[in-house]
């Protein structure tokens, strides 16, 4: 019990720390639109609502731009921006706020398995009656992962993206390499890059552990290509990572990359931002990542944003070269919101689903793939990563990530991937550990077949 106190204090400290960082970030961001902190003229009957987003620079910029654009046409509603940490700390904060009834009127959050863990029917307002949710308007990738019993509970926030390998195009040109379609081609590219010297074939940034899991997550399109019903069987405790060769491959790949010495020298301590810098500058040739991260690339790329491209995670079969796709996240309203505030929250979300709202979003974050509503169009001058991603989407070569097909994701995947990537355990052992990790999540969710 003494510990419980410590844990809480830990959360508070982390939160306080993040808030401090945010303050600093806010200062350096300088001229950005102020999100109306110190209340304006506040006429009688004005409604104030809060909009909660994660604290990534790009998200905060986008949210501020959306609030400003909304205010211009809706002066009677004041929206305050609130931020939360990303990752598991953020997940906890969202759950805690929901369970204590202190959630902001509108909040942005993931869909897929994380959305399911919020118990949407119990905690969120269904939004299927909203004009922007009319049939045919929203992409299936989004509605599938944001609905319960046919009712959609969220509105698209941002653009979709693919998960695969970010690569440096000038390095590929200089060494005369071709975009690989199979794992073997990819490894021979890595050999060529290693031989050329001076460039890290594969960037790993274990200083931010979440970045370690992409080789497993982005490989999922290949798993499904080989075992089409993997997600259903996996959810029902009938298929395992360790015993399904196509799924095991993700962990084995990490081991191969480590054993072959393909990682950058500082892989154990490098941070996510270092990874983005290295892939843009050409210090590294490949970076397993989600394309979504490139929305903040401009700030780090030193003008070389368009040197970075994206290709799908290479699998076993060149004829099935499919990109693992992530839907954009969602905007949600908690059930505790009522009356004027509920109207204001719905109004803001409706605005977010117009071209105007999407344009405002793009002021803060560069698009990383298509929008999930037909009401928003991408401009023509998008980044290379967004173009590469959209090409996969247009060709129909996208398959949703596992988190959209199954509610279970083991919480320790990132640590297990780090264990494999630093050579502490083998890929096979890593997959077994992950299967054990997944079991806890499935039991917590009370899924059938796991007790």
């Amino acid at each position: 019990m003494k510990f419980t106190n410590t844990a809480r204090r830990g959360v508070a400290l982390v939160a306080a720390g993040t808030a401090g960082v945010l303050l600093l970030a806010g200062c350096s961001a300088g001229s950005l639109g102020s999100s109306g902190g110190g209340g304006g003229g506040g006429s009688a009957g004005a409604t104030t609502i809060t909009f909660l987003v994660d604290n990534a620079d790009a998200t905060v910029k986008s949210a501020n731009a959306m609030i400003d654009a909304f205010k211009a046409s809706n002066p009677e509603v004041t929206i305050k921006l609130d931020t939360r940490p990303g990752g598991t700390d953020g997940d906890n904060l969202v759950k805690t706020k929901l369970s204590t009834g202190e959630m902001a009127e509108v909040f942005a959050y993931n869909n897929g398995s994380l959305f399911q863990a919020l118990k949407p029917t119990q905690n969120l307002v269904p939004l299927d009656d909203q004009p922007w949710a009319a049939s045919g308007k929203l992409d299936k990738l989004f509605t599938d992962s944001t609905s319960v019993d046919g009712k959609v509970y969220g509105a698209p926030f941002g653009t979709a993206f693919g998960g695969g390998i970010l690569y440096n195009k000038p390095v590929y040109q200089k060494l005369g390499l071709k975009v690989p379609k199979t794992w073997d081609e990819f490894m021979s590219n890595n050999d060529a890059i290693k031989k050329a010297g001076g460039i890290a074939p594969v960037e790993a940034t274990y200083g931010d552990t979440w970045t370690s899991q992409l080789p497993v997550l982005a490989d999922y399109a290949n798993v499904e290509a080989a075992v089409p019903d993997f997600a259903a069987k996996y959810t029902a405790n009938q298929a395992k990572y360790a015993t399904t060769p196509a799924a095991l491959a993700g962990f084995v790949h990490i081991q191969q990359l480590h054993d072959g010495g393909y990682f950058n020298k500082d892989f154990a301590s490098a941070k996510f931002n270092d990874g983005l810098k290295d892939i843009a500058s050409g210090k590294a040739a490949h970076y397993p990542q989600i394309g979504g991260v490139t929305s903040g690339l401009d700030a780090l790329s030193n003008g070389k944003t368009n040197d970075v491209g994206l290709f799908a995670w290479p699998g076993q079969d060149a004829s099935k070269n499919v990109l693992t796709g992530w839907s954009s996240g969602g905007l949600y309203i908690p059930k505790t919101v009522e009356g004027d505030k509920l109207d204001a929250a719905k109004k803001f979300i409706t605005f977010a689903e117009t071209q105007q709202g999407c344009d405002a979003f793009m002021k803060g974050s560069a698009p990383t793939g298509p929008f999930m509503t037909t009401d928003c169009k991408l401009p023509s001058d998008v980044t290379t990563v967004a173009k590469d991603t959209q090409a996969y989407f247009e060709a129909g070569n996208v398959s949703p990530a596992l988190e959209f097909k199954s509610p279970i994701k083991g919480p320790n995947l990132e640590q297990i991937c780090v264990q494999v990537g630093t050579g502490q355990v083998s890929g096979q052992k890593g997959a077994e550990l992950y299967d054990a990790d997944v079991k806890k999540q499935a039991q917590q969710l009370g899924l059938p077949g796991w007790d």
Partner: protein
Amino acid sequence: MASTLSTADATRLAPAQGVRSGGKKRPGPYPYWFLIVPGIIYFLFFAVPTFSSFYYSFTRWDLFTSKWIGLENYRTFFQEQALVIGLRNTLIYAVMTSGLKVVIGMALALLLTSKIIARGYLRSVIFFPVLVSAIGVGLTFTVLMNPERGLINQMLGAVGINGPGWLTNPNLAIFSVGLVDVWKGVGLATVIYIAGLVSIPSEYYEAAQVDGAGRWAVFRNIMLPLARPATASVITLSLIGGLRSFDLIWSMTRGGPGFASDVIASVIYKQYQAGFYGLSTAGSVVLFVLVTIIVVPLTRWLNRGDVT
């Protein structure tokens, strides 16, 4: 808590030892109902959460609903791979930090009670790290210990030593964090020892001098045994702190790389983070029991010959 000796603990502990000799019980001058207000606060904020946590440790709990599952959480917790590492690391960490604090704290106290220049200044310098927040210390040392760009390895590099990955080498990480913990907490141990050494009556030294005892003999036969209450305090406080240590480890390695520097507290916290609230509560109960099993007999033993 990585600041294994908190000042509050120390001050609370010190008078308690003096009081013990009193012996006789007399009714206090104040009526018992004075206790009602603190009693209610204690009940609401300590007793209720403690006992409800025992209950929740037997359930699968997601903050919204809970389901009774008996001992399942404990079974899962003990099968956790990180727990085996965590148990080992917790013991290494607690023994290492409290051991070093005793030795270094005693040495510094000897130095700082002798007649040296700028004694008052040095005493405050030694104590200063205790006052800094553990998270701040953790973040600072994470930067200093960065294998490529950190100041420590750059300095080692300047004299031709290829410094290790202090926090990125799985075999080294827990020891690196432990050393930082000692750096941060040794000030308090020193202060306790200074108090212990200063309170030794000077007659003993004089008698020893008359008998012709050397410095080592004085230390071995007078200072060490008479500073025993101080040693007991330092060991108890830093061992409890070490067993429960969390914030320094979390801010420096988050239990990584992989699970290599996990301790029980961080394993529990990760379960909580993952939303396994019942499981993490069960872990807290395990930690509570473990600390009790180790610390209660140890304190008894350390204080057995406590004649003041």
